[in-house]
């Protein structure tokens, strides 16, 4: 499968690129700060505070930054012409890039298991269930953000535009559910709640694994990957 070949090259690209290292280091610093806040100041013996902050701040900024070049740079380098004339399908290109950025994202999350170990050795006894389901939720949300970022990168030849588009879509999905106090019909409120990311993220964080939440993340991710593939096709068909 060519997806794996492309995934491997994406990972090499990330580990060779200064911007990816900056993202990894900065997010590690931020996660350490979140951990300090929750463990030292709030004396909480679990990681949900870290997860919430990481999901909120880091995913919204780092994912657009990591993905903005994924397809835009292929157009800029002219390598898209090579990929599209080698025996590779567009969907394999998109999937390779997607799994590549998700793998790098998981690498960036590596401080989280360290925090768990720190909690244990310092005498805390965090419930492993929410720790694991929360980690899974982080990856699901990261994957969705990655799909959105790749879609935005396919749309625009300019990285900065791709960054803004994906940050905007993520922001919308994050805030759409905050409808308290708004004068809107109940059915619309429920629609917004279904589409909004946090309403599916928090139950997972609390250790409540519901199929519909997982389906929400997976189906939205697939939808954006599908759109990215179609955009990629149509861009070179012009």
């Amino acid at each position: 499968m060519k997806t794996i070949i492309i995934l491997r090259r994406e990972l090499i690209g990330y580990f060779l690129s200064p911007i990816a290292w900056v993202v990894a280091v900065v997010s590690a610093l931020f996660m350490a700060r979140f951990f300090e806040n929750s463990a030292v100041f709030s004396r909480s013996a679990n990681l949900s505070g870290v997860y919430v902050n990481t999901a909120y701040w880091l995913v919204s900024v780092m994912m657009p930054a990591l993905t903005m070049g994924s397809i835009a740079s292929e157009f800029r380098n002219g390598t898209i012409e090579m990929l599209a004339t080698d025996p590779v399908r567009d969907v394999e290109i998109v999937l390779g890039k997607f799994f590549g950025v998700v793998a790098f994202f998981v690498f960036c999350l590596l401080p989280l298991p360290v925090f768990y170990v720190l909690l244990r050795v310092s005498g805390g006894n965090p419930d492993i269930g929410p720790v694991l389901s929360g980690f899974g939720a982080m990856i699901l949300e990261g994957a969705l953000a990655a799909a959105i970022g790749i879609f935005a990168s396919a749309l625009s030849g300019q990285q900065i535009v791709a960054f803004l588009v994906s940050a905007l879509i993520l922001f919308t999905l994050r805030t759409l559910g905050a409808t308290e106090g708004m004068e809107i019909p109940e059915w619309l409120r429920r629609c917004f709640a279904y589409v909004s990311m946090p309403s599916h993220f928090y139950p997972l964080l609390r250790g409540r694994i519901a199929t519909n939440d997982i389906i929400y993340f997976l189906s939205t991710t697939v939808l954006f990957l599908f759109l990215a593939t179609r955009v990629l096709e149509s861009r070179r068909w012009k």
Binding site: K2, I6, G13, S17, G78, E81, T85, P87
Partner: protein, 321 residues
């Protein structure tokens, strides 16, 4: 091996290519010649399956580049106009990536990569980062990438553009070497390039194919069967000019200043079927002037285009037949 049937691509009202039809047999080396903006890249992109035609069909190795795209692509090594390289990858890493994408089995990968490196003379830079290479090496690296799976068909879009004269010479030598057991289709806007490597030429102008013939015939047709000479004379003057212009068979005669002091350059064109070179030399020498140079000149690309595009379609068809 490669076939275009009524290939058409429309972008706007006046751009793109119109109704292009040709066939390239296995082992041919064919050049697509045309000025910038004539539709060369568009034609090539349709043949490689990068651009879908608005109408018409492109076949490579018998496979439609649109409906059997992957099968067609497996047979092509394509070098786009701008060398498609990843600046952060090393030369070997890039070739390993291309070999994997092109389905070279992993057992053969090493030897195929070494062969491509040797062919494109990349040995001195095989460990270097490709973004740091010179333009000539980048171009050769991209060509090595196109070649790495040893495809039966090579499609090259302006392979020597932006190279310095030495690199152009090497690139042409490489193309000739590769053409021994491959079908090659290349585009260029330089006539000598087609002469140097191709046996047949397709001429494209403003999106239409205006000629499809062996290279020798194209050049002959362009200048007709007329002889043209250029001479450099020291000590010439009005008397000599009059004598030469009066010779039988001289149709066009122009004089121009020469950078050498006391010298004049004359250009002459003879009537079809007449060879007046001997008479010209005698006339010059008898007049007491010194003949320093005499050379036969040939049609330039500008003239080839001029002739092809001035002709109306009916006489063009007659000329090609």
């Amino acid at each position: 091996m490669i076939e275009a049937r009524n290939l058409t691509k429309t972008y706007g009202p006046n751009r793109g290519v119109r109704d292009i039809t040709f066939r390239i047999e296995s082992g041919d080396v064919v050049g697509l010649l045309g000025p910038n903006g004539a539709g060369k890249s568009t034609t090539i992109k349709m043949l490689t399956g990068y651009l879908p035609p608005t109408s018409g069909v492109a076949l490579v190795g018998g496979f439609d580049t649109l409906t059997r795209s992957i099968d067609a692509r497996r047979r092509i090594g394509y070098l786009p106009e701008n060398a498609p390289i990843y600046p952060e990858l090393r030369v070997e890493e890039y070739l390993r990536y291309r070999a994997a994408l092109k389905e070279v089995p992993s057992s053969a990968r090493k030897s195929k990569i070494n062969l491509a490196i040797a062919r494109c003379r990349l040995e001195p830079v095989r460990k270097r980062i490709s973004g740091h290479l010179s333009k000539g090496y980048k171009q050769r690296l991209a060509l090595a990438g196109a070649l790495v799976a040893d495809p039966p068909i090579l499609i090259l879009d302006e392979p020597t553009v932006g190279l310095d004269p030495n690199q152009v010479f090497e690139m042409r030598a490489l193309i000739r070497e590769l053409s021994e057991n491959r079908t090659i289709f290349l585009s260029t806007h330089i006539l000598p390039e087609v002469e140097a490597v191709c046996s047949r030429v397709l001429v494209i102008n403003e999106g239409s194919l205006v000629a499809d013939e062996p290279i020798g015939r194209l050049l002959r047709n362009a200048s007709g069967e007329r002889q043209r000479v250029r001479v450099l004379v020291r000590g010439g003057g009005p008397a000599l000019e009059k004598a030469v212009a009066a010779l039988d068979g001289i149709e066009a005669f122009t004089a121009e200043a020469s950078p050498e002091p006391g010298c004049i350059r004359y250009k002459m064109e003879m009537r079809e079927g007449v060879d007046a070179r001997d008479a010209i030399v005698r006339t010059i020498i008898n007049s007491g002037a010194a003949l320093l140079e005499l050379e036969s000149t040939r049609a330039s690309l500008e003239e080839v285009f001029g002739n092809l595009t001035r002709l109306d379609p009916a006489s063009r068809a007659a000329g090609a037949a």
